[in-house]
Symmetry: C2
Subunit: 478 residues, 2 copies
C-alpha cells in the first residue's frame, strides 16, 4: 500500500515537474544530480545541512519567476530562491522535496542613471560586476560584504553589511526600490528612484533581510554616491584588544568617521599569511586595527590619518602602518577578506554576533575564557566600529604551521555549550544573533532567545499573511 | 428605542472611561472640551478634519501605555497615539469615538551613550530638547524635519526626512532600536544599540513609518554621529528652476555631497521676507538654491564651496552668496523653515510628492502650467537633491504685499482637479505621494494609485495580523 502511494506521489511530482519544465524551457531546467550538487549548499563548511532539490530552474525574466511561483503555490512545492550561493548560514539550501529557483541568468545591469545616481539591476547581478560597472561611471556603491561573488538579490535578502558599513551603513540604506514576486505570483514594485518615502508601510524594508521567505526580489534600484577622492588604509598593532577597540569611541569623539574599522587578533593573521603567502604589514602586539579612511581629498585623509596615528599611540600602539598605494591597500584587504578561506576547512560555524560596539572587549574576553575552558580555538575578528563580531570555532589547532585536528567525538561534545555560552553572553550585553549574515537554517534555534518569542510570533503572522501555503523558502529564519 | 440604545451605549462608554481613568490617574485623564481642543487637530490648516476624542490620556510610563491598550482592545475603543502634534496630513487626529494617547509626559532623555554613540529617549521627547542634549555631549543627530516641536515618537511614526537627509538619510537610518507596545498591550523590544541587524524580519523598519497603526513607540535608541567641524550655507540665484536643479547631478559628478540642497522660487521668498521682516541674501533670478555644506574642517568646506560656486556659475548663477557665520546661517534657515508659517492661513493642502530628483524641473513646470490653467497660486519649494517637492496650493493671491482671497466656491471647485493632476504627474515620473509627511487621513485616496492596490492589500493584511480589533489609529494610511 505504502509503495503504491509512493509511486502515485512520484508520478504526481513527475507531472508537476513537467509543467515546471514548460515554464522555463528545457535549457533552464535541471534534475540530474551532478547538475544540482552545487545548488545543495552555500558557503557554510558543514556538509550535514546540504540538501538536493527536486529540480533547479533558472528563469530568465520576471514573468517566468511569477509563473514558477504560481505553479508552486498550486502544487504546494517549496521554492528556495538562490543568488550567488555565498551565504554562511544555510539560507539558500533547498527545502526537502522542493526546487531551487536560481536567479543567476537574470544578471543584467539595466541602467546606471547618473542624473539620479541610481542603478537598476536584475537580482542575479554579481557584486563584482556591479562594482566594475559603477566605477566605470565614476560612481560608488559603498556596501562591501566580503564575497564579491554574492548576487544583489542575495545581499538584499540578508541585508548584508560588510566592513564599509561604519560610515555608509548596510545594504538596506542603499536599496531604494525593488521588484518582487510574491508567493502567489503577483509582481509588485516597491519604492523607486526615490531617496525618501513615507507612503504607507515600508514593504521594501520588510522584504529587505527577509531571506527570500516573503517574496523573490527580481530587480533592485540602488542608490549610488559620488566616489571618495582619496583613500588610505592604516594598520595599528596593540598589546590587547581592549586597547585596540578603545580607539573606536575616541575616533568618534575626535569627529573622525572612517569607512571601516576592523579588528583582528594576530594569531589569526599568522594563519592567513602562511596560507596566502602574503605579508601583513606588521606582527607586533596581539590585536590589530585596520582602519580605512576616505574623503574628498588627499589633504583631508592625511590630516585624519595623522590624528588617528596620535590616538592609536595614546592607546598604546607603538607604530601605525600606512597602506597608501592602491596596491598595498588591496593586499592588506585581501588578507583580511580571505581569513575565512584560509581556515574554512576546519570551521565549525561562522558566528555573526552583533553588540553595542563598546561591548566588544568584554565579549571577546568571554570568547577567550571559553577557548581556554574548552580547549577549542575560537579565532575572532570583525567590524569593531559596528560591533559585529565573527567568532569562527575551529575543530583543529594550528601549531607550528600545522593543523592538528580534534576528534569529532570531542569537539561535537563541547561545541553546543560553547555556542550557547557565546550567544548568552551576547544577549546579556544587548546583542543579537546576526549582524549581517541572516538567520537561515543555522541560527534558527537562537532567534527566539535573542529577539523574544512574541516578536518571532509576529514574524510568523507576517509570513502567513504573505505566504499562506508556506511555499517560499520554508524552514528558514523560524 | 434608539434613544434607549444610545443612553445604554453612553452608560457603557462612561463605565469604560472610568476604567481608563483608573489606569492613568485623575491628573492624566481629560474629557472637558477645552482641555481636548488642542488634541483634535494637527498642523494641517483645514479645520474640517478636526475631531474631538472621548478622552485624552497622558501616560507616564510604558506599563500605563500597555494597560491602556489592553483596555482599548477589550472595549474596542480606538486609540490614536500623539507626539508633538506637528504632523501635516491628519495622522494624529483621533478616530470618531476614540481616545487620544498623548506621549507628552514621557519626555525623558534616558541616556546619551558616548561610547556607543547612541541616545536612549522616551517617545515624547521634543526634537528641540533632543538636539540640545546631543550637542552638549558634542555629538550630532543629523535628521532635521522642519518643526523642532515634533516628538521623537512622531518622527519615527512618519519616518520624517527634512533638509539634511541628502547626505545623512532620513530618520529611519538613525533608529536602531525601539520599545513598542503592540495593540494587545504586549511590550516588545526591537533592535538595540546595534549598528547592524539581520536577525529575522525587521519589525523595527516595519514599525518605522507605520503612523501609529501597528504599535505605539514608547522608547527609541537613536544613532548619533560625530559633529561636523565646519559648516557653510550658500545661496545661488538662477534664471529658472531647470538651471537651479541642474546643479544637483553636477554636484554628484564633482564628488560633492552637501548636507542639504533646497530649492525655492523667488516669489515665495518675498512673502516670507515681508511676513518675517527679515532679508534673504538676494532677490535676483527666479529660483534659488540653498546649499548647506559640512565637513571635517574649514579648508575642506571652503574648497567645496569654491567648486560649487564655479558649478553654479556654469548653470547661469551670476553670483553665489555665502552665509559663513552661524548667525547668518540661522537667519537664512529661519526664512526657509518658516515659509509654511507665513502662508499657512491660506494653504489648502501641503503636498509631499517625492520624485526621482532629475524629474523635479519637469514636475514643477507642470505645477506652473496648472497654476496658469486654474488661476491658483501653487508655491513650490523643497528638497532638490532628495526629489521631495512641497507644493502648497493657496486659496488666495499675494498681490502688491496684500492677500486677496479666492471665494470658497471657486477654489473648492477646481482644487480636486489640481491635486489629482499633480499626483498623476508624479506617478507618471516614478514618484510617490509622500516623501516625509506620511499618508495620515489626507493622502489616503492617493495611496492605491501610487503604490498599487495589491501593495495596499498586503499592508492591510499586516495591519490585521498586528491589530485584529482595529483599535490602533484606525482610518489612517488606508
Amino acid at each position: 500500500m505504502l509503495v503504491l502511494i509512493y509511486s502515485l506521489m512520484k508520478k504526481e511530482i513527475s507531472n508537476w515537474l513537467d509543467e515546471l519544465k514548460k515554464i522555463v524551457g528545457e535549457k533552464s531546467f535541471f534534475t540530474r544530480q551532478e547538475q544540482m550538487l552545487d545548488y545543495s549548499h552555500d558557503e557554510f563548511p558543514g556538509t550535514e545541512i546540504a540538501q538536493l532539490p527536486l529540480a533547479v530552474v533558472k528563469p530568465v525574466n520576471t514573468r517566468q519567476v511569477s509563473d514558477i511561483l504560481k505553479w508552486a503555490n498550486k502544487s504546494k512545492i517549496p521554492v528556495t530562491p538562490r543568488g550567488g550561493g555565498t551565504g554562511l548560514c544555510g539560507g539558500c539550501i533547498p527545502a526537502p522535496g522542493g526546487i531551487v529557483l536560481s536567479l543567476e541568468e537574470m544578471n543584467r545591469i539595466l541602467e546606471i542613471d547618473r542624473q539620479n545616481r541610481m542603478a537598476v539591476v536584475e537580482a542575479g547581478v554579481r557584486l563584482r560586476d556591479f562594482y566594475e560597472a559603477v566605477e566605470k561611471e565614476n560612481l560608488f556603491f559603498p556596501p562591501h560584504p566580503g564575497d564579491e561573488s554574492a548576487a544583489i538579490g542575495g545581499v538584499i535578502a540578508t541585508n548584508a553589511g560588510g566592513a564599509r558599513a561604519v560610515k555608509y551603513g548596510v545594504v538596506r540604506n542603499f536599496v531604494k526600490g525593488i521588484e518582487v514576486v510574491l508567493p502567489d505570483g503577483e509582481i509588485v514594485q516597491l519604492g523607486g528612484k526615490l531617496l525618501k518615502n513615507s507612503s504607507g508601510y515600508s514593504l521594501l524594508h520588510l522584504m529587505t533581510g527577509s531571506e527570500g521567505t516573503l517574496g523573490i526580489v527580481t530587480k533592485a534600484i540602488l542608490n549610488l554616491l559620488p566616489p571618495p577622492q582619496a583613500q588610505l588604509t592604516l594598520i595599528a598593532p596593540f598589546e590587547n584588544l581592549e586597547n585596540a577597540v578603545g580607539v573606536v569611541p575616541a575616533l568618534g569623539k575626535a569627529g573622525i568617521l572612517p569607512m571601516a574599522v576592523e579588528f583582528i587578533e594576530v594569531e589569526t593573521i599568522k594563519v592567513a599569511e602562511d596560507f596566502l603567502n602574503k605579508k601583513w604589514p606588521c606582527r607586533e602586539g596581539r590585536a590589530h586595527l585596520m582602519i580605512i579612511l576616505d574623503g574628498s581629498g588627499e589633504d583631508e585623509v592625511l590630516a585624519a590619518a595623522g590624528r588617528i596615528d596620535a590616538l592609536c599611540r595614546e592607546f598604546g600602539a607603538r607604530q601605525v602602518f600606512v597602506a597608501d598605494t592602491p596596491k598595498k591597500q588591496k593586499e592588506v584587504l585581501e588578507i583580511r577578506s580571505k581569513i575565512y578561506e584560509t581556515i574554512k576547512k576546519y570551521v565549525v560555524e561562522i558566528l555573526d554576533i552583533v553588540l553595542p560596539p563598546a561591548e566588544i572587549p568584554a565579549h571577546v574576553e568571554r570568547v577567550r575564557q571559553l577557548s581556554r575552558e574548552y580547549g577549542m580555538w575560537l579565532p575572532t575578528f570583525g567590524h569593531a566600529a559596528d560591533g559585529n563580531v565573527h567568532t569562527l570555532p575551529l575543530r583543529a589547532h594550528y601549531i607550528d604551521g600545522r593543523w592538528q585536528e580534534i576528534p569529532d567525538s570531542e569537539w561535537k561534545a563541547i561545541y553546543p555549550r560553547v555556542r550557547q555560552a557565546l550567544h548568552d553572553d551576547a544577549a546579556s550585553r544587548g546583542g543579537l544573533v546576526s549582524g549581517e549574515h541572516g538567520i537561515g537554517l543555522l541560527k534558527k534555534e537562537y532567534l527566539e532567545d535573542a529577539v523574544g518569542r512574541n516578536v518571532v510570533d509576529k514574524m510568523r503572522l507576517i509570513k502567513k499573511a504573505f505566504d499562506p501555503n508556506h511555499i517560499l523558502n520554508p524552514g528558514k529564519i523560524f
